[in-house]
């Protein structure tokens, strides 16, 4: 099955946005680690912006990058949000409140604790009432989200995939090791956009000896392994370098999602 990439977004250490990241990922040895810039959550009212948690900010930032690149109005675009762990800062605060003798849970922290909080803020920020889903497959959440987004194109013309995970706070850091924040977004369409474009052919199949493609550079491979959303890096690098290749993601069960990336000129 075929899909086209109309735009993408990224935010992580050393990769502040798709344009900068595109140049870094295309050039061998250009990546430098660093602190991720603060995410921008555009489109929220001051009240909503005050309540919006960090996870949702990352999601909004990369999602809006991808839509700007695609030139799409968000109103009609279904969204798939993939996160391995959701917002552990909020879990931590809520569980601390629940451990007190006199329990007083914050109503805002409670409603922000749902896994689909980022999806909710996306709708509020963009006004989109299109279909939206939030999912997790632990460390394979990016592949699960990509699979769901590609399948969504069976009936929808367009789909926006947003993947994000943030580091766990101290109390949970030993049990959920996500040392750095990372988010990525792909604007996918079943209709070929005008101009040069990346075309994806995908299939789900049994695992074989084809291992998950790591990043050639150790620093980028370390980043890929450090965050479930950074499992997108091999695909983002292929897009940046305009390098035809097959990227595969092994999956928690015994399957694999395989995506062949090809590049087509204008037509």
């Amino acid at each position: 099955m075929i899909a086209y990439i109309a735009g993408w977004g990224v935010l992580g250490p050393g990769l502040p946005d798709a344009e900068t990241a595109g140049a870094i990922l295309a050039a061998e040895g250009a990546y430098r680690d660093g602190v991720a810039r603060a995410p921008i959550a555009a489109g929220l009212s001051p009240n909503e912006a005050r309540r919006c948690p960090a996870t949702a900010r990352y999601a909004l930032d990369v999602g809006q990058q991808a839509l700007r690149a695609a030139g799409w109005d968000p109103g009609e675009v279904p969204t798939v949000l993939a996160s391995g762990s959701g917002d552990l800062e909020i879990s931590d605060k809520n569980c601390r409140s629940l451990a007190q003798a006199a329990i007083a849970l914050s109503p805002t922290l409670f409603h922000n604790s749902v896994h689909n909080a980022a999806g909710g803020y996306w709708g509020i920020a963009t006004g989109s009432r299109a279909a939206t889903i939030s999912l997790s497959a632990y460390d394979e959440s990016f592949a699960a989200g990509l699979l769901e987004a590609l399948m969504t194109l069976g009936t929808a013309r367009r789909c926006l995939l947003i993947a994000y995970d943030l580091p766990a706070p101290g109390a949970l850091a030993a049990v959920r090791k996500v040392p750095v924040p990372f988010a990525a977004a792909l604007a996918l369409t079943s209709e070929r956009p005008a101009g040069p474009v990346a075309r994806l052919s995908w299939r789900w199949g049994p695992q074989d000896l084809e291992a998950e493609a790591p990043m050639a550079e150790p620093a980028l491979e370390a980043l890929r392994a450090a965050n479930p959303a950074a499992r997108s890096l091999p695909l983002l690098q292929a897009l940046s370098a305009r390098q035809p290749r097959t990227v595969s993601w092994t999956y928690p069960a015994d399957g694999a999602l395989r995506v062949a990336v090809a590049f087509e000129e204008s037509r």
Partner: protein, 398 residues
């Protein structure tokens, strides 16, 4: 989207008991399975508790997955021979042909709540490195447990969109099958009682002190229930064509309005209902019954009533089962689907347990008491936090 997928087997476990027979009896009795409960500060509320979870023994190989939510999943999978039906499907289709998509809102966060209260946490200021976060608290834990327990090796994922989680899981299943990725999918919904939701809804002033009275004028909040339910879905011909319950459409939408309050004109709810009707190819007058989200809060019920009226469904017989089993949050979609399947099978229109009279300002054709009546086409509404909506269109084929 149009699906026409057969729901070959289904099961549900809730405050009504384990399996379909207990739910058929509960549904037709008109009684409530809820019980009185008090929070730590003495605030009264009602809960729907599943009996016997304390006695569930996890398989030794999955011992790290031990938590209330996964115990509930196990109990539900073993009801009505459901796990055995999945095993039979795997024998026919191969393990790789069977996917697992489970909806949950809080997964096993109860395990982390308990660990934070333990003296060891206060001393260390952190969870011990061997705490089974991945297997209990993490959102995916429930789906991971189910796929391992069942031995299914197709794609596995967890949908977590608050109270619409397991309804949206049906949509993923339909796409897995339509794309040829899977030949059958185990769709589930599991949500168990935990302090995050009890005290969270309390903090929002949404827990009824006595129990929910959906669509009544004096409604004052919800009761949280726990439940687990599963359905084995696939194309009609995979296990041989047969009559019974079918998924005719899934309507998915967002409110784009507020994190907890529904859109005052019910635009998101209308979009979900319209998409479900469109996917099934039905007109509003084709609908024989609406299983309401009907949680019993002031604003949600008003928005849902308005949505039904906007969509031309004010005349359709409708009822809420939240007064019977509670609001089962992420499991609400699968519970609704199973209860509608039972009602279709029994030729029975369920009533609204706990509600004495309909809010006089409402327009819906609310069924207060159950009565015999055929249901061929039904909708199941689910609306969640984050403005996350999903309506299922279910059809009974002779």
């Amino acid at each position: 989207m149009g699906t026409g997928l057969a729901i070959h087997r289904y099961t549900v476990t809730s405050a009504f008991g384990r399996g379909l027979a207990a739910h058929r009896a509960g549904l037709m009795s008109g009684r409530s399975g809820l019980s009185a409960h008090a929070l730590a500060d003495g605030s009264p509320c009602a809960i729907g508790r599943v009996a016997g979870l304390e006695d569930v023994a996890m398989p030794a190989s999955l011992a790290r997955y031990d938590c209330r939510n996964n115990r509930l999943a196990l109990l539900a999978l073993e009801a009505d021979g459901f796990a055995e039906s999945v095993a039979a499907a795997i024998r026919i289709l191969g393990a790789g042909g069977v996917g697992v998509v489970v909806g949950t809102s809080t997964s096993g966060i109860g395990a982390t709540e308990a660990a934070y209260r333990a003296p060891a946490f206060a001393e260390r200021g952190a969870l011990a490195a061997d705490f089974p976060y991945r297997e209990t608290h993490n959102v995916f834990s429930c789906g991971d447990f189910c796929r391992r327990y069942l031995g299914a090796k197709g794609p596995a994922l967890v949908v977590s969109t608050a109270c619409s989680s397991s309804a949206k899981a049906f949509g993923v299943a339909a796409r897995l099958i339509a794309s040829g990725t899977c030949r059958a999918v185990v769709v589930g919904g599991v949500d168990s009682l935990c302090d995050t939701t009890l005290y969270g809804f309390h903090s929002l002033g949404l827990l009824s002190p006595t129990g929910p009275r959906p669509f009544s004028a004096d409604r004052d909040g919800i009761a949280i229930g726990e439940a687990g339910g599963f359905a084995l879905v696939g194309p009609a011909d995979v296990f041989g064509a047969r009559g019974g319950l079918y998924l005719a459409g899934v309507g998915d939408s967002a409110d784009a309005y507020h994190m907890t309050a529904p859109h005052p004109e019910a635009r998101g709810a209308c979009a979900a209902i319209a998409a479900a009707l469109g996917g099934a190819g039905w007109r509003p007058e084709d609908v024989d019954y609406v299983h309401l989200h009907g949680t019993g809060t002031l604003h949600n019920d008003a928005a849902e009533d308005l949505g039904l009226a906007h969509m031309g469904l004010a005349a359709a017989p409708a009822s809420s089962t939240k007064g019977a089993v509670g609001h089962t949050l992420g499991a609400a979609g699968i519970c609704g689907a199973a209860l509608v399947g039972l009602a279709m099978d029994a030729g029975y229109l369920p009533g609204t347990a706990n509600t004495g009279a309909r809010d006089p300002s409402f327009h819906s054709n609310l069924l207060l008491s159950g009565r015999p009546g055929a249901i061929r086409r039904a909708l199941v509404n689910t609306f969640g936090f984050g403005g996350s909506n999903c309506t299922l269109a279910l059809e009974w084929r002779p």
